[in-house]
Structure formats: C-alpha cells, structure tokens
C-alpha cells in the first residue's frame, strides 16, 4: 500500500488532459473551506434536510416490496421508461413537450456535460461559454482540452451581440465552435437570467450558423419571482439545442440523476459514450424517483423549496446591503442558488478568501468561473445551503474583511476612502447597492470621468 502514494512512479503515465488548469493557490484554499467551523457560502448545496424522512422510508419500502430484483439489476443505457415519464412531467412543468425517444437518463447533470464534451470535442476545438461560467464545467472542458471562449454577460444574461461578433471573428479564422454552453436561467454563478429576446436571437443564431447549443437548466423550477421564460430548448424544438436537466436541485443531488435531450444523431453517439462510461444510470435511484413521483406530490416539495430559498435569498440580499461596502456590486437573482458579487479591481478574491478563512467563512473566488484568469475581483455566494442566521453571520464576516481592505487601499493610495455603510445598521437607501451585473462596457464608462 505504501508505494501507491509515490506519484513519481506513475507521473510519466498521466495523459495531458489530467493537467487541470485551476491555480494551485485556489485549490489549496478551497481544500480548507470544508472545516466544520467554517461557514461555507462556497458550495452549491440544496438543503436536503427539508426532505421528509417518512417519504424517503415509504419510497424505499415500496421498492423493496414491489421491485427488489429490478432495483438491483442493470438497466438500459438510456434509462428506464418509467423514469423518462417522470422527466417528461418535470419538463412539462416548464412547458416543454418532449419525446422520450430523444432522452437519455444520466448519472447527474454533470455527466451530460462530460458526455457532450466527450462526443463533440477534439483537443483544441472551440467551445463557447458564458463569462463567468459554471465552475464545475471548467475542469470538464479543460480535461477534453477545449479552447473555451467566454462571452460577457449583463443583467439579461449572455450578450448575444458579443457572441455574434465572436462567431464572426472565429469564422474569419476558419474555426467553428463545437457548441455553445449556457445556463440561461438563474445562471451559476452569476444569478442572472437571459432575456426572452436574447433567447430567441440565440436560437436564430444557432439555426443560421448550424451550431449546437447546450442549455443547462438545473434551476428553472426554483423561481422566486417574475414570469417564467421559455427554455431555449422549447424555442428551438430540439433541432440545434441540446438540453440538460437534473433532479439534484428539485429532489436530491445524492441520487445522482440527470438527463439530456439531444437531436437523434447526437443522442446515438452520447449513448455510446454513456455505455462506455458506466453502462447505465443507477437503477435503484431511478426506481426511487419513480416511486416518489407516483405519490404525486413532487411539485409540492419544489414549492416548499422555492419558499425556503426565496427567504434565504432575501436574507442574503438584506445582509449584503447591510454589511458590504458601497464599492461592492451584486446581482439580484430571481431564482436559483447564487449571487455574484463584484468588488473593486484592487481586491483579488482568491487572496481575500485566505483572509476570510481566518474569520472562518468561505466563498468561491471568481477566477474559478473563468478559464482565462479573469474574474479575480468577483465571488460567488450560495444562499441555499445555510440557515438564515449563518447566512447573516457569514455575510457580516465577509463584509468586514472587504471593508477593511477597501479602507486600507484608500489609505495606501491617499484617496479619502469613501465611508462604507454604517456598520451594524441598515444602509440609508435599502437596495441602492443592488445593481445589475455590470457589463465590461459599463464598467469602463464609469471608470473614465
């Protein structure tokens, strides 16, 4: 057993794709966010303590009684029919009518990203993503050696005009992106939602240029306000848009169940990749979902989560307004799990995390959401995984260290540091700091007098 730890015995065997691209500093820091005394706003965890244990017991009892042998057996690679019916219900709740033939049940949504990348990307191929993008997709794209081009966002999601300009540029270079990866609704990490006109334009662009889009939609049903927007998949009808769904945020991440909808020729390849990866998705997990859906109350549970997370979002937004200095800006998500905060350029959030960890609080530094070193003054905050008092205390501690750094910078540059919101009391104009995510252009405009 001893020799297995000696990396040099194996180092020469590792594939180039294993060289992940996150900075070693951040890896070291993130590793200590898991300490129990740390209030972690870094995760993306749903609050599974809200799931009724009685329901869990009833579900497992029913499987044991009615389908024990089946639950313990392999299943079809693309998933059980009964699971697909449940998925059709979930997608129906967002007004998508689907054909189970176009569906594959996967081991979580993450497997969809992996399978799509595996199916479409050769080393050096271009993938388009939002900037910032889902931090969990970063190592996946890196491991397939994709050249990821990130498109800036604003309060209305991905700037499709910038996307088009980028596509023009790539075309001139003779490069055709393999797919466009987007989380259009309550984006992870930015918390913003792509507007309806941009969704329509994105679908037009995909059709005009014959480009695939991967729509990642884990949070669509976790809407806390406003009207539902049509998923891009629904606008396109499944021609160029691939869809990624998951039970992780509406039921449980522990059961590892997700799905993909793909055009049939793509689906065929994805199924081959899936077969090579794990033969089939856990039959036991699929039967648990089926038994749970048979009770007919899954939407009630989603509704209860929505109410809980709405309150937590409000708690975090209130705490941000109270404790963060006026130089900070953040998004105001209408759903989902995350708020994206942007600080003045002179604060590096990876270094700030080191300082925050001394106060036993953690967040995700913005650089985790970029593959090109940007995002260094931003951070992702999660509000679903902690109770209200922890959220408030966590934000208070982060606010304190930011305020400290802003004041120090003011002292160092000789600028009169602008007075932060009075500590301990609500800011004078509630909500005044709740700004839409600034686009780069807006930032530059504001920076130049």
């Amino acid at each position: 057993m001893s020799i297995t730890r000696d990396i040099e015995r194996y180092a020469g065997l590792f594939a180039a794709r294993t060289k992940v691209m996150t900075s070693s500093t951040m890896r070291d820091l993130m590793a200590i966010t898991a300490r129990p005394e740390v209030i972690s706003l870094a995760g993306g965890l749903p609050d599974t303590s809200t799931f009724p244990p009685d329901t869990f017991a009833a579900v497992t009892q029913r499987i044991a009684t009615e389908s024990c042998a089946k639950a313990l057996q392999y299943g079809p690679t693309d998933g059980l029919e009964g699971t697909k019916d449940c998925i059709a219900q979930v997608m129906g709740a967002e007004d998508m009518q689907v054909d189970p033939e176009d569906m594959v049940v996967t081991s979580g949504g993450q497997q969809v990203i992996d399978l799509v990348a595996k199916t479409l990307i050769d080393p050096g191929d271009v993938v388009i993503a939002e900037g910032p993008t889902y931090p969990g997709a970063v190592p996946t794209f890196s491991s397939y050696q994709a050249d990821v081009v990130q498109i800036d966002m604003d309060a209305d999601g991905m700037r499709v005009d910038l996307l088009e300009a980028q596509l023009e540029r790539l075309e001139r270079e003779g490069r055709r992106p393999k797919f466009i990866y987007t989380v259009p609704t309550f984006q992870n990490p930015a918390g913003v939602t792509m507007s309806a006109p941009r969704r329509r334009r994105l679908v037009e662009v995909a059709h005009e240029r014959e480009l695939l889009v991967l729509e990642d939609n884990p949070y669509g049903l976790l809407r806390y306000e406003g009207d539902r927007l049509p998923p891009i998949y629904a606008l396109d009808g499944g021609v160029y848009v691939m869809y990624l769904g998951t039970f992780s945020k509406i039921l449980s991440p522990g059961i590892r169940l997700g799905w993909a909808m793909d055009p049939p020729p793509v689906l065929e390849r994805i199924n081959l990749g899936k077969q090579a990866a794990d033969l089939c998705t856990s039959t036991l997990s699929q039967l648990m979902v089926q038994a749970y859906f048979a009770q007919g109350r899954w939407r009630d549970y989603v509704e209860s989560l929505t109410e809980l997370y709405r309150d937590r979002r409000d708690t975090m937004l209130d705490a941000l307004a109270e404790h963060f200095p006026p130089q900070a800006e953040w998004t105001r998500p209408g759903g989902g799990l995350f708020i994206w905060v942007t600080l003045p350029d002179f604060i590096d959030t990876t270094d700030l995390l080191a300082r925050a960890l001394r106060e036993n609080v953690a967040f995700v530094p913005g650089e985790a959401a970029y593959l090109d070193g940007r995002g260094r003054s931003s951070m992702r905050l999660n509000f679903s995984g902690c109770a209200d008092d922890e959220l408030r205390e966590g934000i208070r501690r982060i606010g304190e260290v930011i305020t400290e750094q802003v004041a120090l910078y003011g002292t160092l540059t000789g600028e009169e540091s602008r007075r932060p919101a009075a500590a301990g009391g609500p800011s004078e104009v509630p909500g005044a700091q709740v700004l839409p995510m600034p686009s780069r252009a807006e930032r530059e405009r504001r920076a130049t007098p």
Partner: protein, 313 residues
C-alpha cells in the same frame, strides 16, 4: 523501533501540501519498521497526543501553527521529542522580517527591504513613505506577507500603481508585510541535513523568453535542476551562505534556504524554511536524492536527530 506520531494537516493554508508530506513520511516510517500514528492537527491535538503516547513526533506541518513554533511549543510542554527546529528557530525563520534583520546584522546578503504592519498604514500614515520606499528599492518590487511559508500572497509590483493592490493582497495573509527589492536572476535552494548542505537545486521557469513571476510558483510551470550547473565558486558560496543562515537562525535537523543568484554573480538569501516540503516534488527530497540519500534514509536520519537533540543539551 519507535512509536512515532506524524503531525500533519492543520489549519494552515498549506494544509494540502502538509497532508502529502505527512502521508509520504508515514509510508517511509512504516517501511523503516516504526509504529506510526498519523494525527491531523486540530482542536483535539493534545488529546490525541496523550492517547497515542508516542516516543517521538515527526512534525510534517507547513506554514502557520506547524512551522512557526506553535506546535513545537506544545510538544515541549508535553515533553515529547520532535523532529526539526525548536521553538526559537521556527519563530525566527517563519517571520521573514525578523530573519532578514538578523541576516543584515551578521552580514548575510539579503535583498534590501522595508516592512510594515497594518497599524503603520492605518494609524501612522506609512502610506506617505511609500514613494520614498519605491525610490529606494526601484521597480519591480516584490511584496510579501511576513509569515507565509509558501508563495501564497507574494505579489510583484511592476510600477507604483501596483503597490497598493499588492499590499492589500499580502495583508490578506498576515498582519505584517515586506516590500523587497526584486533580484533578477536564478532561483536556488540549498537544503541542509544535519548541518551539512546538500546539492544546490535550481528552479527554472518554463517558457522561452517570457519571464513571468507567477510561473516560478505554479506547479508544472517550473522545472528543477539538481545539482544546479553554476559558475565557478557560486555553489560553494551558496552552501556557505545557507549554512550561515541555518546556524544564525538556530535551525536543527534540517531546513531549506532559498537564494537568488543575480546577473552579476552576487548571491542573496531570501528566506529559510524550517520545515520544507517533503512531497514527491519537493526540493529537499530531490537534493537528498542527488546526494545519494533516498527518501526513507532521509526520514530515518531526521527522526534519529530528534533523539540526539535530547542527548546534547
């Protein structure tokens, strides 16, 4: 054969490196036939040490707590012999400002520097002195937290406008920071085992003409040459300076001293690390290997020295 507690992990920012160092030390100790108890240093450290009742502790912790004298002090209180430097040497070495002042005093060349704590800026108007400092040191200037063992928080200010941001970043890691004249040249490290210098290791940044400060510290972006190919006399001089630093700080058992060799052939000592990394890519094990001392033998000797310190008061 002894009952050895391997202390690793802890709350430091270098926890991950320490876990790797510790795991490797455990394996080596087991191969050497010792009975090993691994302890991830946390709030129950003392209780775990009482329960384990080891004959000796192998401290494989880096950075805060493990390398700054804190754990050494606790082991002194418990009366458990331990590997490596004692409390005073750890305090001196981990505080780069203190170490550099001691070097200056004894004529060991170290890059010119100025150090401040946050109070100086917040309450004594030290910001007004920045311009004078910048004139004295010339750009680029290196900004470092005083008490961080690894490259964490080290920033490179190419111009005056970069200095405030670099200071804010460095203060994220420590209440005291130093601004240091940047020595352009070759990165050298001299490891010392039982008072004897090991072959010099040179860290060579990858990439052709592009000289990038960060690349020195990013894994995979730096390659190591050991023994380093140096101009005549430079290796001996590096050995001499490293050994003088080791003795000056009162290090014991082992340590690693980092130096720069500038374009004019001058050597400067940057810092000393009382518990350098012991992972598969770390410099001390590489240097020992180059001197014909394998990892198991290295670990065995470090352990033996913990006992012989007891014999020599």
């Amino acid at each position: 054969m002894s009952r050895v507690a391997v202390l690793k992990g802890g709350r430091s920012l270098e926890r991950q490196v320490s876990l790797r160092s510790g795991a490797r030390v455990q394996d080596a100790l087991e191969r050497l036939g010792h009975e090993v108890v691994a302890i991830d240093a946390g709030t129950d450290l003392i209780r775990l040490l009482w329960d384990a009742a080891p004959e000796v502790a192998f401290v494989a912790m880096h950075g805060r707590d493990g390398e700054d004298g804190t754990v050494q002090e606790l082991l002194e209180i418990l009366g458990i012999p331990y590997t490596g430097s004692g409390v005073l040497a750890c305090i001196r070495a981990m505080d780069k400002v203190l170490a550099k002042h001691l070097m200056l005093e004894t004529g060991i060349p170290t890059p010119e520097f100025f150090a401040f704590n946050e109070t100086a800026f917040r309450q004594l108007g030290a910001a007004d002195a920045l311009q004078a400092i910048e004139e004295r040191l010339d750009f680029p200037i290196v900004v470092k937290p005083a008490g961080q063992g690894s490259a964490l928080g080290i920033k490179f200010a190419a111009a005056a406008a970069d200095v405030p941001g670099a200071l804010v970043a460095a203060f994220s890691y420590d209440d005291k920071v130093l601004l240091e004249r940047h020595v352009a040249g070759r990165d050298l490290a001299v490891s010392i085992l039982d008072g004897e210098p090991l072959p010099v290791v040179e860290a060579v940044p990858q990439g052709e003409d592009f000289y990038d400060f960060e690349s020195r510290y990013e894994i995979g972006r730096t390659s190591f040459v050991c023994p380093a190919e140096l101009p005549a006399g430079a290796g001996e001089r590096a050995h001499e300076l490293a050994l003088r630093t080791y003795r000056l700080l009162g290090c014991y058992g082992f340590a690693r001293v980092d130096l720069m060799l500038d374009e004019g052939g001058e050597l400067y000592v940057l810092e000393a690390n009382p518990i350098p990394g012991l992972t598969e890519t770390s410099l001390l094990p590489q240097a020992a290997e180059a001197a014909g001392t394998g990892f198991d033998e290295l670990v065995g000797r470090i352990l033996d020295l913990a006992f012989s310190r007891l014999a020599t008061p």
